[in-house]
């Protein structure tokens, strides 16, 4: 069983919602990223989505674009991102790690080399934003053979037929994009998200996590109520933006990750509400 599957099954059994923060590897430098990853776990993250810096992040809003630019200013590459995970794994073998990014760096490294390295350093899954299932068969096959999860997005514009096809290739969790737009936008329509998630439930037993636009405890609770987990990216990267490369200050790490701690509390609150109402 993949690590993500075991994490989500354990969480489901406990009635715990998955909390999945996103940060950019190397923002503002690799030392901070490592510290942030461990702090995110301390504040309640179950899985971490680690962004691979790419020069042309066409699906990301301005906050994550700037995070990527900071990482690239320090020269962080896909190879560095893999090394970062390897370092993280020296102390943490429980938390799920999903790499998220754009295809070109993986394409240039070569699928075979990438999957071997990802497997070796302890990565659990991959989400390539600009590679829909129709273009991913070769990479998907290699990931599958290495027992790594392939995570795909479903958007509000995804047709039912297409959503069904996506759930058939997706493993780990299904990432539901809550709005039309780029990361960090804030135009969620609760009712339409709720009805889309209901439709997806009919198609798949995969855990469904909601991302794009979740920025605080309230939106975390609202989206957590509808799903099996939530992804928080821009709201965290915005706080990381206050850090500078160089010496890592422990209290800065804690402060940057407080938005995740608050989301954890909000999600756990849902569980207590539910228990109280029973």
């Amino acid at each position: 069983m993949s690590r993500i599957k075991s994490i989500s099954e354990t969480a489901a059994a406990q009635g715990r919602k998955l909390l999945i923060p996103y940060l950019v590897a190397g923002d503002p430098d690799l030392g901070h990223s490592l510290g942030l990853m461990h702090e995110l776990v301390r504040q309640g993250a179950d899985i971490i989505e680690l962004g691979i810096p790419f020069s042309d992040p066409a699906s990301d809003g301005p906050v994550i674009q700037r995070g990527v630019e900071r990482a690239l200013a320090g020269g962080t590459s896909l190879a560095d991102t893999l090394k970062l995970v390897s370092q993280f794994r020296e102390q943490d073998s429980q938390t799920g790690i999903v790499l998220m990014g754009y295809l070109n760096p993986i394409e240039i490294m070569g699928y075979g080399r990438f999957v071997a390295a990802a497997s070796e350093v302890g990565i659990d899954g991959l989400l390539v934003v600009d590679m829909p299932p129709a273009e991913s068969s070769e990479l998907h096959q290699r990931l599958h053979e290495a027992n790594l999860d392939s995570i795909y997005l479903v958007a509000p514009t995804t047709s039912a037929i297409r959503a069904k096809a996506i759930t058939e290739v997706c493993s780990g969790y299904l990432y539901y994009v809550s709005l039309k737009g780029v990361t960090g936008a804030a135009l969620m329509d609760h009712e339409s998200v709720a009805s889309s998630i209901n439709e997806l439930r009919k198609l798949t037993d995969l855990p469904i996590a909601i991302g794009f636009g979740i920025k605080d405890a309230d939106s975390a609770a609202a989206m957590g109520r509808l799903s099996d987990g939530i992804i928080i990216g821009s709201a965290l990267v915005e706080r990381i933006a206050d850090m500078s490369p160089g010496a890592v200050n422990e209290s800065d790490l804690v402060r940057s990750c407080e938005v995740i701690g608050a989301a954890r509390a909000a999600l756990d609150g849902l569980q207590e509400d539910k228990a109280a109402s029973l």
Binding site: E69, S77, N104, P105, P132, A155
Partner: protein
């Protein structure tokens, strides 16, 4: 004549692309975020229907004739030919189109698609500003809201075109992210499209992007090659021996080349921006010095570093300053049907002056790259041979740039 006319077919058996999934061999495809997939698929569906509809093409042809002023002439450049000393050089005068370049052939076609799809808002990316102007122009004509994304660097380099777009009623958005040039403008246009996908049509300006863009932009630009075929037979009784066009994204080149792909006797040369020289790394020549990768919705040759980051490009001409190229060009390179070469900034500048002084035609700096190469090519061929250069755009927009480089202030 009848034998020559039989070559005037449009069949493209050996070079028939893209396939049903939008691929030209290993290139092309659809590499975009999930939010945009439905929009791209809808466009492919609508285009497939309309492209089989004679009424759609009749409307397009009528627009080209009455609004753009087509057909554009094929012009024998007598003094340029004499100066080169060899093959006869003909110029396909796309610079005489309304808005001054080939770009309008495509924006007319796509604006008609937008109209058929009921979209009320148009977005476009632009480098030199020619595609932005051509988009703003058709938007004005059809009464559509228009937003043009342009790298902040290019907004400065191409100030007259920025003002032109504003006069036409477009909102010009200066893009400050990344390298602040064409590729970043395209990123920003993709972000806008994902956000406003319900009412927005994205007019991509070149034969790149996700399927069906490389196909439909090519189809709209093929008017250049079809006219050139007929005009060549009329003017010199046979097909040209060589075709030359500049290649940034590659829309003017594919428009000229594509109708001739099956005519094996016609040699083809795509001229990329060699910038300060291929050996310096400061250029925009992915076919000459790049490698395959994925950017902006398609797999193609790119300027990318070892780690897969897209590299900053350099060219004196903003319209060629792009790290990728249309996927069909990537395929034609691998098939060795088209030769891809490069001309440097300096060679382009010299050609700019030569054509201006010898023929009284001020060419765009993009086009000047093709002229530079074609003069050398002509010199290597006999006087009984004929070369057609796609004179893709006029150079009025570039006079400030040329003056600045030569130390003058206008």
């Amino acid at each position: 004549m009848s034998e020559s006319m039989s070559e005037f077919g449009t069949g493209t058996t050996g070079f028939d692309g893209p396939d049903s999934t939008g691929h030209f061999g290993p290139y092309g495809g659809i590499f975009v975020g999930e939010t945009l997939i439905a929009a791209v698929e809808e466009l492919a569906q609508v285009y497939q229907e309309l492209s089989n509809d004679d009424a759609f093409w009749a409307e397009y042809d009528s627009e080209l004739k009455h609004y753009v002023g087509r057909p554009s002439p094929l012009y024998f450049a007598e003094r340029l030919t004499a100066a080169s000393g060899g093959a006869k050089i003909y110029l396909k005068r796309e610079d005489l189109n309304h808005t001054g370049a080939h770009k309008v052939n495509n924006t007319i076609g796509q604006a008609l698609l937008a109209k058929h799809m009921g979209k009320t808002r148009i977005i476009a990316e632009t480098g030199a500003g020619q595609h932005g102007v051509a988009s703003a122009t058709v938007a004005a004509r059809l009464g559509l809201e228009c937003h043009v994304y342009m790298g902040a660097e290019d907004v400065v380099r191409q100030a007259p075109n920025v003002y032109r777009m504003k006069l036409l009623g477009a909102n010009v958005v200066a893009v400050e992210s990344g390298s602040r040039t064409l590729k970043d403008a395209m990123n920003e246009a993709l972000r806008d499209w994902a956000t406003n996908v319900d009412n927005t049509y994205y007019i991509i300006g070149t034969v790149a992007g996700p399927h069906p863009y490389p196909q439909l932009v090519r189809d709209f630009q093929c008017i250049i090659g079809r006219e050139t075929k007929a005009q060549s037979l009329e003017m010199f009784g046979k097909l040209p021996d060589a075709l030359v066009a500049c290649v940034g994204g590659g829309s003017n080149a594919i428009g000229l080349f594509h109708p001739f792909l099956e005519n094996k006797q016609v040699a083809m040369f795509g001229v990329e921006a060699g910038g300060k020289g291929l050996e310096t790394g400061a250029h925009a020549a992915p076919l000459s010095a790049g490698k395959p990768g994925v950017l902006h919705g398609n797999r193609t040759y790119l300027m990318t570093d070892e780690g897969g980051q897209i590299q900053e490009t350099h060219s004196v001409s903003a319209g060629l300053d792009y790290p990728g190229v249309g996927p069909e060009h990537a395929w034609l390179k691998d098939l060795q049907r088209v030769n891809y070469v490069a001309a440097t900034d300096e060679e382009a500048m010299q050609a700019f002056h030569k054509l201006t002084r010898l023929e009284g035609i001020i060419p765009a700096l993009e086009t000047s790259h093709a002229i530079a190469f074609a003069m050398d090519l002509a010199a290597s061929m006999g006087p009984d041979k004929n070369i057609v250069i796609n004179l893709s755009g006029r150079g009025d927009k570039d006079i400030e740039t040329v003056a600045r480089i030569e130390g003058m202030k206008l």
